[in-house]
Symmetry: C2
Subunit: 524 residues, 2 copies
């Protein structure tokens, strides 16, 4: 298979086919270039944009169909959750204050959605009688927030760690989630997805982990969870071909013989075998659920990977044209041990191996110097900033102001709930803005509410390779909208809707199912 | 009037009179020393503990009665909110997990409350048939959180400031709340009180501000708001006898003549006149609403007060045996300008003037050195730590670990919503714990979940002068309880219930009215 280009900055283009029944605002709809609505779903309703899947063998095709049908759960008498988007009809959101993007003041407007696309934003829009209507009076309609870094497997270990740094926390990983069943992986992922959508987040870049190594069933479980929850996701199995004990200098040597043997027994599969599973996942599940769930490649921590493994990961990502995501210099231990191992900074080493580039997202990036930041900017790489996690496991405060000044695309994440306690992107916004103000007295570098909102919207969209389609409430955007009360006690004044905001009253995800879960929405 | 001793550490003692009708747990009730239940209220139901008010003249007595009746609002056709506690009957909270105090693991227990007192905590408690019952299944029953530093007047200016330091923020005060009517003061205070009780906080130390100086009507308005909301409060009018422009070195000199004259016109009343109002407030409103609302004295920022004013404030607090509260070294500007003015640290200066002592609470205390911390500890003074505000207006990170290690009583506050966006004490817990971890790599000093909870409970109780009565779910504690879901998505595991907790499902304040506002409670 030939090398494909990363989607980032090279959007899929689809022929414009505005639906004829959108009345009253044809002028505004005008030259929508991205609307591609075609028949799909069992009921003949308009379906969602989806990329053509790669050819599959019979088993893979069957598995894929099962995910898309979402009609099974592995155990017990659970009612199946519907996985596939059923084909969203027209949705009209009326009378809200629309915060179109991070740097635009909110303005009264309606939002018209057809299928998975926003086709008009403006006052006085109309829709056909059978359209779903959502009254957003007293609410702020914001772009669906994008969680640019999380870990599905963490949602079952909330709150277990306190006052530990990253390395001891990671070292307890096997005790917390070694050998989970796919059902457990599914439930953990679903829990996080539900928390996200309930707090205004509609898209996630998820580096789920399965120990000792991911199986294709674990990949399927996480994909299925996001498909079921109605959240847009980039699912990247977090993989490594070295043991945790091998990259922290001196750690393996410090173990007594019996414990060293025990650790050896937990060795992950070989690098090629691991990437074979990731490759199978890409073949089976990439661009599934109407294109809403995609896959990416994530050699989790560079120091825990051989260079061969890093390079093979890069090639795999290139082959499928998908994203590449690693943790980068999250802790001082990582930064210093990397320098000791490579004789240069981790960022420089990743650059020399060929990891950096427009499809690359580095999580955390706390311990980057000016040269590292320049490398990130000049290669078009993205950073996923995780302020709450950086505080909780005491990693430090990332130089976000310097990154933004140098032109790095910075996105925002919660990180996994094991290291940050929750999946609330509104809290992440607040932590990002406030944390920047104790990092330095250099106030022009303090993150404003608008800057943090851009990180959580357009910054995240770019990191997910969907910068042309997500992150704004604007026509041609894929429908990912969230609405917040502007009148409730803990919302800010309308003059500054972002600064103090935290509570999300309902969130409309990128599927009609999630939108319909709001009490103020009726199913289409 | 002779000097009274501060209540702190010298609790009111009342004769034990356990109610005869508490069946099934008399053994546990046993030797409750603090229960004092006497008849009160219109309906002959058991009333609340209340200290005898000082003698009042006719007008003051009338005013006080009006507050206690709470039967009026100044304008319009509003329905009056009931101010007085109606006399709570017996309340039995069953089947919760009780987190009795900051350092105790949660355990299954019932909680029996009679009037305003917890009379028993343990499994299988019973109550008379007419008692109010509250099913706390799946909930964590925690002590009502105590907000040790807030500003009622800030609740109408949420979110207006972003990326400014403290001094520019304070300088905009007149533009934001000069000349507010008592009705506006009432509404602003009520808004904050409601937010607090909805987020698990049942007691507050409130330094409300009225510009140019407080009137007795503004004091009454804030007292009435807390009485109406059912929140326990220590209301301290924040006062100063110097202009903001007079204490920041060079600021007054830098103004052109016309602006200097404009500023002069905003000069507050004279020190004696201001303290006369505070004194009148103490006479009229201290220990009102069944002892639930009390007053304190707050020369707001030492640098904005003459030494004569500070000393007179101290004497006034001593005369009534009430608390004294100031901001202390919140910003670097305050700390440095204080050193320039006094030739020593602010803390040392306050000590020399006679401010420090067991009744004294210092808000913020960010810029304290080891000598200052020793002075605070050795005088038995308290600190109210406000992590979110210290981040938002970039004051810095207070040396809480050093204070705790030296034996300072540290409480927790939200600060006013103008500088911290909300009144959510669960968020304050989270900010306190996480912020400590980026202050220093010295991990033994990182605040644990248990330490922050102690700050927000027993630490706050001590700062409010109610260390013997609040801050724990234990018999002899005044009823101030909050319950949280232990099963909802954003709660932590039961092994560590505090670390990740944020959402409060209902809160029972110290009045029956507030408790009855919970959907799972029926009014007694």
């Amino acid at each position: 298979m030939g090398r494909r280009q990363c989607r980032r900055g090279r959007p899929h283009r689809h022929e414009a086919q505005p639906r004829g029944h959108l009345r009253g605002d044809e002028g505004r709809v005008g030259s929508v270039q991205e609307v591609h609505l075609r028949r799909g779903g069992d009921e003949g309703r308009p379906g969602l944009l989806r990329a053509e899947p790669p050819p599959l063998d019979d088993r893979a095709a069957q598995q894929r169909a099962q995910v898309q049908a979402g009609a099974r759960r592995r155990r017990g008498g659970h009612q199946p959750v519907r996985a596939e988007i059923t084909g969203a009809a027209v949705l009209l959101i009326t009378d809200g204050q629309v915060l179109a993007a991070g740097d635009a003041p909110p303005a009264p407007a309606d939002v018209l959605v057809d299928g998975d696309r926003i086709v008009a934003v403006g006052p006085g829009l109309t829709a056909p009688p059978d359209a779903t209507r959502l009254d957003a009076t007293g609410k702020l309609v914001v772009p669906g927030l994008i969680n640019a870094h999380t870990h599905a497997h963490n949602n079952l270990i909330k709150g277990v760690a306190d006052s530990v740094t990253l390395e001891p926390f990671l070292n307890t990983g096997p005790a917390m989630y070694l050998g989970r069943t796919p059902e457990e992986q599914y439930l953990s992922a679903l829990l996080g997805a539900v928390e996200m959508v309930k707090t205004g987040c509609t898209s996630a870049y998820d580096l789920f982990m399965a120990l000792p190594s991911p199986s294709i069933e674990s990949v399927e479980a996480v994909v299925r969870a996001y498909a079921d929850a109605g959240v847009r996701a980039l699912v990247a199995p977090a993989v490594a071909d070295l043991l945790f004990y091998e990259w922290v200098p001196g750690l393996m040597d410090a173990l007594p013989d019996d414990l060293r043997k025990e650790v050896e027994r937990r060795r992950p599969a070989s690098g090629p075998d691991i990437l074979k599973v990731v490759r199978e996942g890409l073949l089976r599940f990439h661009d599934t659920a109407g294109g809403r769930v995609r896959l990416a490649v994530a050699p989790t921590i560079p120091a825990q990977c051989t260079d061969d493994f890093l390079l093979a990961s890069r090639r795999l990502a290139d082959e499928f044209g998908v994203g590449l995501h690693t943790h980068l210099a999250e802790s001082k231990v990582q930064a210093l041990s990397g320098r000791r191992r490579y004789g240069r900074s981790l960022t420089r080493h990743l650059h020399d191996v060929g990891i950096l580039g427009p499809c690359f997202t580095a999580a955390h990036a706390v311990w980057l110097d000016a040269d590292d930041i320049a490398l990130m900017a000049d290669t078009g790489s993205s950073v996923a900033h995780n302020p709450a996690s950086n505080m909780k496991v005491a990693s430090g405060i990332a130089p976000v102001a310097e990154m933004l000044a140098r032109g790095v695309n910075v996105a925002l994440g919660t990180d996994g709930s094991g290291a940050s306690d929750n999946q609330n992107m509104f809290e992440a916004l607040r932590f990002a803005a406030l944390l920047s103000k104790v990092r330095s007295p250099d106030y022009p570098g303090w993150l404003t509410a608008e800057q943090t909102l851009r990180m959580a919207t357009t910054g995240g969209a770019h990191a997910l390779g969907l910068g042309d389609r997500l992150g704004q409430v604007a026509r041609t955007s894929t429908r990912s909208i969230s609405a917040r009360s502007t009148t409730r006690r803990d919302s800010s004044s309308s003059a500054k809707p972002v600064a103090g905001s935290r509570r999300c009253w309902w969130a409309a995800a990128s599927s009609s199912r999630a939108a319909a879960s709001s009490p103020s929405t009726r199913p289409s």
